[in-house]
Symmetry: C2
Subunit: 364 residues, 2 copies
């Protein structure tokens, strides 16, 4: 794997990330394929909408169908017939948010499956092994995810363990096609964030991420921290802001030099009828769309906007039809990927400031 910055505009930049499953142009949004599928969407559709890399969740895939089965079947790419790169998280975040009865020790985390209550144990070493068995191109270090609020003492202790776990994660890496990203924690406090940045980036790695956001904090806290911390992350490595966010969050973060994003939001809210358009967010269930024969988003050229009316999309949603979730998800992902494509163009063409300000006006 290699990463090269292509164009810079102040802190914003475009780049090219090469993996064993192909190249990725950054900034990029990665659709989330938790259980070896981006919900309701096929791989052909992901390619059609310009997806360059997707995300898989180690926690879910470990529990079902199990990395041993996926490995036997040739790895996650082959299992789900996705030919482009895959990034997997470490499982840490889900262990803390989904599973029952976590018991954290220096060695790792014991937890019970949210599916059947069975007992499991994740350590830096086992998380790396699972991700390597899945055959991921980008592997995330095993870290502790603190909630919000946390005291400074809790934060300091947690980041120190995350640092030790990172060194163990790195030592456990034995598959040359898989590249390890470290995760900067440090809570919602600038001092501890910068200290974690120093700790994590002192370990030489192919990429670095910001973790521990979207844990219930006021969103302005994240914007302020990313604005300061983003530009201080190593310039010659890809920078990944985990689990974020709205179109506004993405634009502000690109402005702070972030290259990679993932978030379940565009797919999750799609299933509730919330759709992103270039005129802002709308909810398709509203009565005003009942007889609206116009496209969902007149500025969008996706298959949904060119083929179906708002009235039809409203009907599908009101009827609880599966096609509703499918078309809504398609549009929202297309929108997110287009937002990124236009960001890359704007940075490359020297029009980033105008694009950023236009987006903030539309989505702010």
């Amino acid at each position: 794997m290699s990463f090269k910055v292509i164009t810079e505009h102040n802190d914003a930049r475009t780049g090219l990330l090469k993996t064993s499953h192909g190249e990725i142009q950054t900034p990029i949004f990665m659709p989330v394929g938790t259980r070896a599928t981006v919900k309701a969407i096929t791989n052909d559709e992901l390619l059609e909408m310009g997806a360059q890399i997707i995300l898989g969740n180690t926690y879910h895939l470990h529990l079902r169908p199990g990395e041993d089965n996926i490995k036997t079947l040739g790895g996650l790419n082959k299992f789900m017939n996705w030919k482009k790169p895959i990034l997997t998280d470490s499982g840490g975040f889900q262990v803390f948010s989904l599973s029952k009865l976590n018991k954290i020790s220096e060695e790792g985390v014991e937890f019970r499956s949210h599916l059947d209550g069975s007992k499991h144990f994740f350590s830096p070493e086992s998380s790396m092994q699972i991700q390597m068995d899945l055959g991921s191109d980008i592997i995330m270090a095993f870290d502790e995810c603190l909630g919000h609020p946390a005291t400074k003492d809790q934060i300091e202790k947690s980041m120190a363990m995350t640092h030790r776990w990172l060194k163990r994660s790195k030592a456990a890496m034995t598959r040359k096609e898989s590249k390890l990203f470290g995760i900067i924690q440090g809570g919602l406090n600038l001092e501890t964030r910068l200290k974690s940045l120093d700790q994590i980036c002192s370990v030489d790695l192919p990429g670095y991420a910001l973790g521990g956001f979207s844990v219930g904090e006021p969103i302005e806290m994240m914007h302020e921290l990313v604005k300061v911390v983003g530009p201080k992350m190593p310039k010659d490595k890809p920078r990944y802001l985990m689990g974020v966010g709205t179109p506004k969050d993405l634009i502000l973060s690109i402005d702070a030099g972030i290259d990679m994003f993932d978030c379940v939001m565009p797919t999750r809210v799609a299933r509730n009828g919330t759709l992103y358009t270039w005129q802002g967010k709308i909810n398709i269930k509203r009565a005003e769309y009942k007889l609206d024969s116009g496209p969902l988003d007149p500025e969008c050229d996706c298959n949904v906007c060119t083929n179906y009316s708002r009235a039809y999309l409203r009907h599908l949603f009101a009827s609880g039809e599966m096609l509703s979730a499918r078309l809504n998800t398609y549009h929202n992902l297309y929108f997110y990927l287009k937002l990124m494509e236009r960001a890359r163009e704007a940075i490359n063409n020297g029009t980033w400031d105008e694009y950023r300000d236009d987006c903030l006006k539309r989505f702010g």
Copy 2:
């Protein structure tokens, strides 16, 4: 609308049915799009798999979004962006099977919506009006659907009313692009069936259907009746067997001269993991498929069989992923449409007996 028999082989035949939305080659299976969508499937996919006509349900569309709204939006074809022919049922069957508190009189049926309990009334005249407002190419007469078992007296009374309702249905037709099919009832008794055939076919119409099957009777009763009644239906008109059935049912019915079929089964069972293959029916949830890297059906060239393994399809089903319903539905519809395409080829090529016997061996 016109219908022409192309090739005959004993009672089996191929034909060409012309409608205002294009031609249909028969025998044909019509995917069911109850609420203005074939569940989980897009129109592009329907075209890709060779669908020539789909079915809409008058009862459901009347209740939501309402034929007035669909008419305002340009009709059902335009509403759902489906450019090929549409057949709608009369709403009668659903009134009897889904709604609450039916009150049947000579005038029609009063019923309460299964959605919100609101009161509605269907008569032959209102059913025709709704179907014309939807803009259907083929409109089904409003008939009474008796359950099984029924006494001979009940059957006779019901068929007589169905006959009177057919004449009222015909008199109510005012839209020239919409063509009315009459429905032969007569229960599961050969004598009354043949009497209903005479009654219904005495009314000159563009097509005729057999209704009142799949109401809980032993399947052999239907096979025997269709074998006798099918060939006695007018030869120069399309013959439609409503709501049927399994691959075996279709093959036996084509052999008895039936041209058109619809059934929710291939789509409904797909969502429960039951899949039709050229080697017979399988359930994808079975443990034996856990590590099966082979295609769902090695004899099928659909997108699902060429792109995904049984192990992956099993995982999607076990995980309750929407993509499971989507891929399973796609495959089953593709299978049904291919079964029909091969039937047409066999009849046209003079190899119908071999094809029929091979199918009965596979699916019997």
